[in-house]
Every structure is written in C-alpha cells, then in structure tokens.
C-alpha cells in the first residue's frame, strides 16, 4: 500500500487532475468574482467543449488541439450572448435584480437541463471517446500518455497566462478591481459593463477549453458536467474568490484528495470524495481558507 502511495505515477496523476480542476475553476472564478453569479451550469460548458473537440475529431478529423480553440470560441460566444441578451436586461429590472442571485441560479439550473438534453438528443447518451496522441512517454518512473501531458501543459499555460494577464495588463487589473468591489470600481472610472462582458466571455471560454482538454483523455457523456461544477466550487471557495494563486493551489489540493483518496479506497469513492469535499468546504468554511476571515460572500 505504502509503495503505491509513494509512487511518482500517483503524484503525476494528482498534479494533472489538480491543474485541470484549477483551470475549470478559473473560468467560474471570473464569472462569480465579477458578477456574483453562481453559474451552476459551468460544468455544462466543460461538457460542450468536450463535445466540440470530440465531434471535430470524429467527424471532420480536426485535431483536438485545434478543437480546443473551437471549443473556447463557442462557449465564449455563448458567454457574451448570455451577458448581452440576458444579464444586461436583468440587471436593470429592479424586481428581477433584487433576487438576481436566486433567480440566476434557477436560470442556470434550467440551462443545465436544456444543454444536457440537447446534447443527448444530438449525440445520444452513450459515452464517447477517441484516440489521439495516445503514445506513452516515460519520465523516470512515470508513464504518461501524450494526450494527458498535452492537456496538462495547455491547462497550466492558460492558468499561468491568465495570472500574468490579471497582474500585468490594465484590463486584468480592472477585472481584479471589479472582483474586489464593484461599486468602487465603477466610481474610479472602470467601465463595469464592458469588464463584466469580458469576464463572462473569458470565463465561459475557459470552461469550454477545459472541456476540450478533458475529452482528449476521458470518455465523455452529456451528463458529465455536474462533477466539474462541484470541483470548481470547491476550488474557488477553498482558494478564495478572485484569488488565482489560491485557486491553483486549491485545485491541486482537490486533485490530491481525489487521486490519493481513491488509491486508498476504491473507485466508488471518487464521487463521494468530490461531493464530500464540496459539502465539507461549504459547511465548515464558506468564507474560504486562503483569505483568512475576509472572504467575499
């Protein structure tokens, strides 16, 4: 048992899973941070991205590495459309914006059911997969398929690029300002409407990209989204709202909990560990861990 736990193979698996969770959560963090909208349909964006990449490869022979871009563009456009046609109107209607948080949750809940069933109608509910870059590479004692490595590298690169973007560019700083305090951000002259549009687009787009990466290594189904939503919530609550470094660390923590937890028990514990972490995090420390007591509700 101990030698399994000490193997580099398990370590690599945990890091890869954790990085992917960090990426999924990054998208949700941008949306929740800037607009305070809990997008429980975020996992469905992951699912859509996965179907874009997989159908691109299966039907048109387009490399999933190109499909990643297609997935990001599609879900990004959805984000822009949702903001322009839905939330911009919702925010100006007083009776709707008063209960915006609750209402948007219900709207996203409706969106989950719609998206899952449209995809199930189009592609059936049968799990799908494809083989791409499935050669095995060895690093010391670790054997990785090329697609897992590629997915990991892309996810890590996007996390890193976003972190740099939020720190170094003026738009990124504006996004961070909005996450910290919306009203004050508007007062100092930030175009709140435009930043919200940008973060929603970016957030949705990252979800789609993550899905395309997931599809390279796992079988996908129309109902695969929920666990990713849950994982993303665990990560942003643990890591702190709008805290990207915290998010990456929290993603890794969750990856380790899940991979090592399953290694110690059995694959049936996979979902229990994930949902258990979710419930535990919300009940024990809804204000986040990284930020001490001053999390944003």
């Amino acid at each position: 048992m101990i030698d399994i736990l000490l193997s580099e193979q398990l370590l690599a698996a945990a890091i890869i899973t954790g990085t992917l969770y960090a990426l999924v959560a990054l998208g949700l963090n941008l949306v929740y941070g800037t607009m305070r909208l809990l997008n429980i349909a975020h996992g469905e964006l992951v699912m859509l991205g996965a179907y874009v990449a997989s159908s691109g490869y299966n039907y048109f022979g387009i490399s999933p590495l190109v499909g990643v871009i297609g997935a990001g563009v599609l879900t990004g456009l959805m984000g822009a459309a949702v903001y322009i046609f839905l939330f911009r109107n919702l925010l100006v209607k007083p009776e709707l914006s008063r209960r915006l948080e609750a209402n948007s949750l219900l709207i996203f809940f409706g969106a989950i059911v719609i998206l899952q069933n449209i995809v199930a109608l189009a592609f059936t509910g049968t799990p799908r997969g494809y083989r791409y870059l499935d050669g095995v590479i060895h690093f010391g004692g670790v054997a990785l398929t090329e697609n897992r490595l590629a997915g990991f590298l892309i996810a890590a690169a996007i996390c890193l690029a976003t972190a740099i973007f939020l720190r170094a560019s003026i738009v990124g700083v504006a996004i961070k300002a909005l996450i910290q305090d919306r009203r004050a951000a508007g007062l100092v002259g930030i175009n709140v409407d435009r930043i919200q549009l940008l973060s929603l687009t970016l957030g949705f787009s990252i979800g789609g990209v993550a899905g395309a990466l997931v599809s390279m290594t796992q079988e996908i189904t129309p109902f695969m989204g929920f666990p990713y939503t849950m994982a993303a919530f665990v990560v942003i609550i643990l890591g702190g709202l709008g805290n990207l470094v915290g998010g990456i660390a929290a993603g890794l923590v969750l990856g380790f909990i899940q991979i090592y937890g399953v290694a110690l028990t059995s694959p049936q514990w996979n979902s229990i560990l994930l949902y258990g972490a979710f419930v535990a995090v919300l009940v024990l420390r809804p204000q986040g861990i990284m930020r001490g007591g001053r999390g944003v509700r």
Partner: protein, 299 residues
C-alpha cells in the same frame, strides 16, 4: 368562491379517477398526486422561507430507500410514516450546519448534499453486492393511488394551513429580511429548522409509494436531480406564494409529460427548462400570480 375553485376541482377529480376504471388514468393520477405532494412540500421551505432547495430528491430517495429496505420486514402502513419520520430527523440534524449557510451557497449546498447522499447509498448498496433491487408482491396501483391521494391532500392542506399560523408568518418574514425578522423576535433558527424538516416528510413517503409502484429501486433513479428540477419548475410556473400554484403547475407539467415523455423524453426536459427560464424572466409570480393577484396588489 373562485379562490376555492382549484381546490374543489382537484379534490373532485382526485376522487373521480378510480371510478373511471382504467389503469392508465390511475397511473396519471398517481403521477399528478406525486408532483402535487412534492411541490407543496418544497414550498414550505423554499416558497415561504425563501431558502431554495435544489436537492429535494434527497428526501424522495431516502424515503424510497427506507421503504425498499424494510419491504417484507415491516408492514407498509408502518414503514411509510417511519420513512417520513426518518427524513424529518435527517433534515433536522443536517439543518444545524446546513442552514447556517445562507443565500446562494445554501442553494448549491442542497444540490451537493443530494448528490453526496446518492453516492453514499450507491456505495452501501454495492457493498451488499447490489446494483438495484426488485420488490415482489407490492400493492396494486388502485390501493397505492389512495395513499398518494391522501399524501397530496395532506401536503396541500399543510402548505395552505401553515400560511395562517404564526409559524408561517414567521417564515415569510424570514424570506423578506432575515435579520429584521430576527430583531423583532422571530426564532429564526427554530423556524427554519422546522420548515426544513416539515418539507422533507411527505416527499419521503411519496418516494416510498413510488418505489412500491415501480417494484424497483435504483439509487441513480431514486435520487435523480431531475426530480428536484421538476419540483422547482412546477412551483415557479404555478406560482409559489399560494397553495393553488403547485396544483396548477403540477397539473400542467404532468399532462405535458404524459404527452411527450414516452415519445420524446429529451424534448420534454428541454421544454421544461425553457419554460422555467421564461417564467423566471417574464412571469416571476407564476400562473397563480396572474390569475389570482396577491391581495395587496388588487386596488
């Protein structure tokens, strides 16, 4: 008189259905009764206190699981009420940590709990070497129908009656402004806990009846998030501020589902989602809010 009309019509229909003498009609009646009972129970917590639960399937599933596990061990006239009692206690116990979480986090937490319990039940079942369970010798649909009718009437009466009690007014105050409610002396913790517990009793019994009806139990099915989703859609579309709302919402979707479920299940769910979103955006008070405007808005 017009205010009482929906109750009278539903009650009359409920007692008429068995005399039609068709199993199909009984099946539809059973479905309708189930959704009315579930939605009315959901309203106690989510409509009145404003704590929206996305995970009411957890009570339905736990009730079904209890009745299935005790089938042929204890009689159902005992196991059904016990199922209700157990979920009541379950809700009261978990409410201690859960109800401290407020606002949108509470909403997603209810969903997470329902899924967590589902996977725990799957794990327990697989440790028994079971994937699903078949029940033999369950009661006829004709008998189950009467039980379901009683549950639907009980749930409707409960959600109607609570509104006129001190407790019900307290819940409404919590929904409008929890801090203000607390400051004028409403025991918010006790009220919320009680509302959470009460909203779980009847769904558990309904889950038990449905398990007996299908003779079959599978955790994935009993704890299906679609159950929670349908409850919410019915409540929102009917209008959750009035005990008549769930009747109308449940009736509308039960008949829609009869028309579509067999031929196009995915189509039915897509329509459900679209209608839910449309109502939230365009008619947040539901059908009932339009037909019967709340007293304050009639000039």
């Amino acid at each position: 008189m017009t205010r009482a009309l929906p109750f009278v019509v539903f009650l009359a229909a409920g007692f008429t259905v068995p005399w039609i003498g068709s199993t199909y009609a009984l099946g539809v009646g059973l479905q309708l009764g189930m959704w009315i009972a579930l939605t009315q129970s959901w309203i106690i917590l989510s409509g009145m206190a404003g704590y929206i639960s996305l995970g009411h399937a957890v009570f339905f599933g736990l009730g079904a699981y209890f009745v299935v596990m005790t089938w042929e061990v204890i009689p159902i006239w005992l196991s059904l009420p016990l199922a209700g009692l157990i979920t009541f206690l379950f809700a009261v116990i978990i409410s201690v940590p859960v109800l401290r979480v407020r606002g949108p986090y509470f909403v997603i937490l209810t969903f997470g709990i329902a899924e967590l319990v589902k996977y725990v039940v799957i794990l327990i079942e697989s440790s028994f070497g079971q994937y699903s369970r078949l029940l033999f010798g369950t009661p006829e649909i004709g008998d189950l129908y009467w039980v379901m009718l009683a549950l639907a009437i009980a749930a409707t009466a409960l959600s109607y009656w609570i509104r006129f009690t001190r407790f019900g007014h307290g819940l409404l105050a919590i929904r409008e402004d929890e801090e203000a409610a607390q400051s004028i002396g409403i025991p918010i913790v006790r009220y919320k806990t009680l509302a959470y517990g009460l909203s779980g009793i009847i769904p558990a019994m309904v889950g038990g009846v449905m398990a007996l009806r299908t003779n079959y139990f599978e955790p994935e099915q009993a704890f299906d998030p679609i159950v929670s989703f349908t409850i919410i859609t019915m409540a929102i579309v009917g209008g959750s501020d009035d005990a008549r709302g769930p009747l109308l919402g449940a009736a509308f979707f039960t008949f829609l589902s009869e028309m579509l479920w067999a031929s196009a299940p995915q189509g039915y769910l897509i329509i459900l989602g679209v209608i839910l979103i449309a109502f939230i955006l365009l008619m947040p008070n539901g059908i009932c809010g339009r037909i019967f405007p709340p007293a304050g808005s009639r000039i």
